[in-house]
């Protein structure tokens, strides 16, 4: 939390006494910060929440009691700045806890039921059953890549210990087995892991991720980009999406009430909307080609956001774009980011009947034509928190938007390149989803394959081994 970080800097580097204030709800987050940085900041607690409360209530907090100590808040504030530093507030050498370390590689032998319980109690799962990562299963999984088990795949940032944990091919393979993945899925899991991105980004809001796979790997491992692509009816979609969350929980230490404090959580996290793009039925170039990859390369592309809104079949006397305005009206438009997920019927209709030659043409049309009242735009907290500072610094167009009366219409999507388009669906109905997901990055799958994709293997011996 910035409050604690700023207090530490002022106290240690500028010699300024500080009185940091937090609501009592975050006492354990403050305690976590103390544990990892060692400095006994003199935090003062008020009742929860402060956000949204009127002035009279906040004044009541100041003259009222600190829930942690039952003493008057403002007295504690003054005292924090004037009471001389005591003996135990002198820290001296402090070694922050670290996740480095060697733990016993194998678990004690036990029955299937007891081990399933152990995996849940230790916080290694998402609450659902797993496949126990036995040595044989992990060995079979490792045959899915040509990389050595101890090769480092990527790093993930641990919020609580402020460290980068680097994980190996074997660590990803263990989580792959737990998710029920097969060897042929491992290259995709390694590509995801190489990004170091957690599937549950740290936030108190329901922040979530989406995963789109492009290129030949989609059909090689039988991913679903057609009917029911987003529903649990395909092995590769189910296990790859879930593996990313298990990777985040196990190696990203994203464990509820310990490292992440999402107030409501987001059910998207069970599968992270893991789908393949329906390149065969799409009239436009595949998503990864837009991002500079060759069509013959296989990639994973990661997105982050909060919501998606489904259309329920638009009316016949309006263009698809105008129908989408209804869904866009329910999204904040943060940094002009959105992701349109279109059934091939809709994509082909947009190209053949409404004349959008490329995905970017349609993104530009949305960017120019979708309007939202300025009051609603600034009414979303994240917009206010992240973009109001830009407006105050005079960055256009936000500075001028901030001055407009509440009901004036603005076009919030000022950067069409941030409006991503992915074609997914089985053509049983002209459906689409509009999400506030922003693109974060793509990663190659091919470099993690069992045999580099470019090798010809005439005698067919290089294929994947028999399934165990």
């Amino acid at each position: 939390m910035a409050v604690a970080a700023c207090s530490r800097t002022l106290e240690q580097e500028y010699g300024i006494p500080t009185a940091p204030v937090s609501t009592f709800e975050f006492a354990n987050v403050v305690a976590g910060d103390r544990r990892f940085h060692g400095i006994p900041l003199r935090f003062i607690y008020t009742p929860h929440p402060v956000v949204g409360m009127p002035p009279s209530v906040l004044r009541g907090y100041i003259e009222g009691k600190d829930p942690a100590t039952q003493r008057t808040v403002v007295d504690e504030v003054v005292e924090a700045l004037t009471k001389p530093v005591t003996e135990d507030e002198f820290v001296g050498d402090f070694t922050p806890p670290s996740r480095a370390g060697v733990r016993q590689a194998l678990l004690e032998p036990d029955t299937e039921d007891n081990l399933q319980r152990l995996f849940y109690e230790r916080g290694w799962t998402d609450g659902l059953p797993i496949i126990l990562p036995t040595e044989e299963r992990v060995a079979a999984m490792l045959s899915g890549t040509n990389r050595a088990p101890d090769e480092v795949v990527g790093e993930i940032f641990l919020h609580d210990t402020q460290e980068y944990l680097s994980f190996t091919v074997e660590m990803v393979a263990i989580v792959g087995v737990m998710a029920g993945a097969r060897a042929e899925h491992l290259p995709v899991l390694l590509a995801i892991a190489s990004t170091g991105q957690p599937s549950i980004p740290g936030s108190t809001t329901p922040f979530a991720c989406m995963l789109v796979v492009n290129g030949p790997i989609r059909n090689e491992i039988g991913m679903n980009s057609g009917v029911g692509a987003f529903s649990p009816r395909n092995l590769a979609n189910s296990v790859i999406g879930r593996a990313w969350t298990l990777l985040t929980i196990n190696w990203g230490y994203m464990r509820l009430k310990k490292q992440f404090w999402t107030s409501q959580g987001n059910p998207i996290g069970y599968n992270n909307m893991c789908v393949a793009e329906n390149e065969e039925r799409s009239p436009w170039e595949p998503f990864h080609v837009q991002k500079g990859f060759q069509a013959a390369e296989s990639t994973v592309s990661l997105f982050r956001g909060w919501s998606f809104v489904n259309n329920v079949v638009g009316s016949s006397h309006r263009t698809v774009g105008e129908d989408m305005f209804i869904q866009l009206g329910a999204l904040p438009g943060l940094y002009s980011a959105a992701t349109l997920i279109l059934d091939p019927l809709v994509a082909r209709h947009l190209k053949e009947n409404e004349g959008y030659r490329t995905k970017l043409d349609f993104s530009r049309w949305i960017s120019q034509n979708f309007k939202m009242p300025a009051g609603q735009f600034w009414g979303t907290d994240l917009i206010h928190m992240m973009m109001a500072p830009l407006a105050e610094q005079g960055v256009e167009p936000y500075a001028s938007w901030k001055k407009l009366p509440a009901d004036t219409l603005i076009a919030p999507y000022d950067k069409p390149e941030n409006i991503n388009i992915v074609v997914v669906g089985g053509e049983t109905s002209p459906m689409w989803k509009v999400a506030d997901f922003a693109y974060s990055m793509s990663a190659s799958v091919d470099k993690w394959r069992a045999k580099p994709a470019t090798d010809e293997c005439a005698d067919g011996s290089c294929g994947l081994p028999d399934e165990p």
Binding site: P49, V51, G52, M53, P54, V57, D126, G127, L128, P129, I131, G180, T205, P206, V227, G228, F230, S231, P232, R233, L235, S238, V239, T245, L256, W261, T262, S263, Q264, G265, N266, P267, Y270, S307, N310, V312, V313, G314, S315, R318, I326, A330, L331, P332, D343, L345, G375, Q376, W378, G379, T380, D381, I383, M385, G425, E427, T428, S429, M431, K433
Partner: protein
């Protein structure tokens, strides 16, 4: 449509042919006849999509091919009304070649083979299952006093086709989902509500649990309740997906045609309401529906969208304002708000909404959308426009309004519900268009 065709043929002996989109006609010819109607109505397949196509394209369809027989469309229609009946079309009474009963036990040489068999049969969500051995199913059955061979329901398939299933079948699926015996009553209550509604659109279900059972079995209604984390929430939510596939027989592409479908189907948004944090005047969902506070109730919602508030409540923009803005994107037929307790503190303590109903009334009066946008939603136009044409208000007058006229879609405030769930670390909420059923008493299945 098969039902109406059947009525015309059976009661009035008038030959009928049904025209269906090529996307769903296979269901009309196959599973619908075998398991529901028993009447092999003759179908022709119309290329899809047809709604929204210009007349020239429709003319092309009429002069083109019937997607079922591959013959010219109109020729197929004439033949359907004139070609003499086949022996199969004259059959009556019990259907021949009924499928043999499913064996009670399966044996395989290894766990991995069984996990693969369960996947290939479409019995799972393709995530790992706990293999339902007899010992595990027997232990699970101790979670209810109902007998293993008791039939829970017979009309369990889509459109009520007969798929009788026992308490033991539900216990088997509960083991597969990873459940503990104390979850069995809720899972039985869920199973008793099949068939769940399906559609070619991206429809989904939500499960809300109320009453003492929430704490008894350790459900999460606080921090991170929407998951993925808590065992009870995750497992019970997943069990519904297994019931949908195995008991109801929903298989995408055979008996289901959701074009993109909905990622919520992985866990069916299974949550418990945070009743402990409700301020006085704000009643738990099941008490609003008429149950006693001490009843344990599971309510199944059906809907399409769950829109996230994204960030905290902004000081200068009261929470109900942003809710109003986002709800104008919903169809207007129903709305359920999933609200963090910190937002409830603001709405109740600061904005003066003494009860959930008062919030519903305010939103009902303040959510507006253009008549064009209202009728642009095909579920609204399919279900309500015909009623408006027959004079039913307010739809009749809304039909006559010019496109840009503003209407208040949530005319009936009772269609706006609120469920409180969350851990107070952020004043966030979801606006959804989910519609509840009338709830099921879990105690009946304990």
């Amino acid at each position: 449509m098969s039902r109406e065709a059947g009525e015309i043929e059976q009661t009035y002996h008038i030959p009928t042919v049904a025209a269906a989109g090529s996307n769903v006609v296979s269901f009309g010819i196959g599973p619908n006849v075998a398991y529901n109607t028993g009447m092999p109505i003759r179908y022709v397949g119309v290329p899809f999509p047809f709604s929204g196509q210009p007349r020239s394209v429709l003319k092309g369809y009429i002069e083109g091919k019937d997607t079922v027989s591959g013959r010219p469309m109109m020729q197929a229609i004439v033949d359907a009304l004139t070609a003499p009946l086949t022996t199969d079309e004259r059959l009556s009474g019990p259907a021949p070649d009924a499928p043999a009963a499913e064996p009670r036990i399966l044996v395989a040489s290894s766990e991995d083979d069984l996990q693969r068999l369960f996947r290939e049969k479409g019995w799972t969500d393709y995530n790992p299952v706990i293999l339902p051995t007899q010992e595990r199913v027997a232990a699970m059955l101790r979670g209810t006093h109902h007998k293993p061979d008791e039939i829970v329901k017979s009309a369990a398939g889509t459109f009520g086709s007969r798929r009788p299933f026992t308490v033991e079948k539900v216990a088997t699926l509960a083991v597969m989902a990873g459940a503990k015996p104390e979850y069995l009553p809720i899972i039985l209550a869920l199973a008793s509500r099949v068939p769940y509604q399906d559609s070619t659109t991206s429809i989904a279900q939500m499960i809300v649990v109320n009453g003492p059972i929430r704490t008894k079995i350790g459900m999460n209604s606080g921090l991170g309740a929407l998951g993925p984390d808590n065992e009870a929430n995750s497992v019970i939510g997943r069990a519904m997906t297994l019931i949908h596939k195995v008991i109801q027989g929903y298989q995408e592409g055979i008996t289901g045609f959701a074009s993109l479908s909905n990622p919520l189907r992985y866990d069916n948004l299974c949550i418990a309401e945070n009743e402990e944090s409700l301020p006085d005047g704000w009643l738990p969902l099941h008490v609003q529906m008429g149950y006693k506070p001490t009843d344990s109730v599971v309510t199944i919602f059906t809907g399409w969208n769950f829109i996230n508030s994204t960030g905290w409540v902004e000081q200068h923009y009261a929470p109900q304002f942003l809710m109003r803005d986002y709800m104008s994107s919903l169809s207007g037929m129903s709305a359920t708000l999933l609200m963090d307790p910190s937002v409830v503190d603001l709405l109740h303590g600061v904005q003066g909404f003494q009860t959930k109903a008062m919030l519903g009334d305010w939103l009902s009066q303040n959510v507006e959308k253009t008549a064009e946008s209202y009728w642009g939603n095909s579920i609204v136009s399919s279900m309500l426009a015909p009623l408006g044409r027959q004079g039913l208000e307010p739809y009749a007058s809304w039909l006559k309004l010019p496109d840009k006229a503003m209407i208040k879609p949530f005319a009936n405030a009772r269609n706006i519900r609120t469920v409180v769930v969350g851990g107070k670390t952020a004043s966030v909420w979801f606006a959804t268009d989910f519609m509840p059923d009338r709830g099921t008493l879990i105690d009946a299945w304990s």
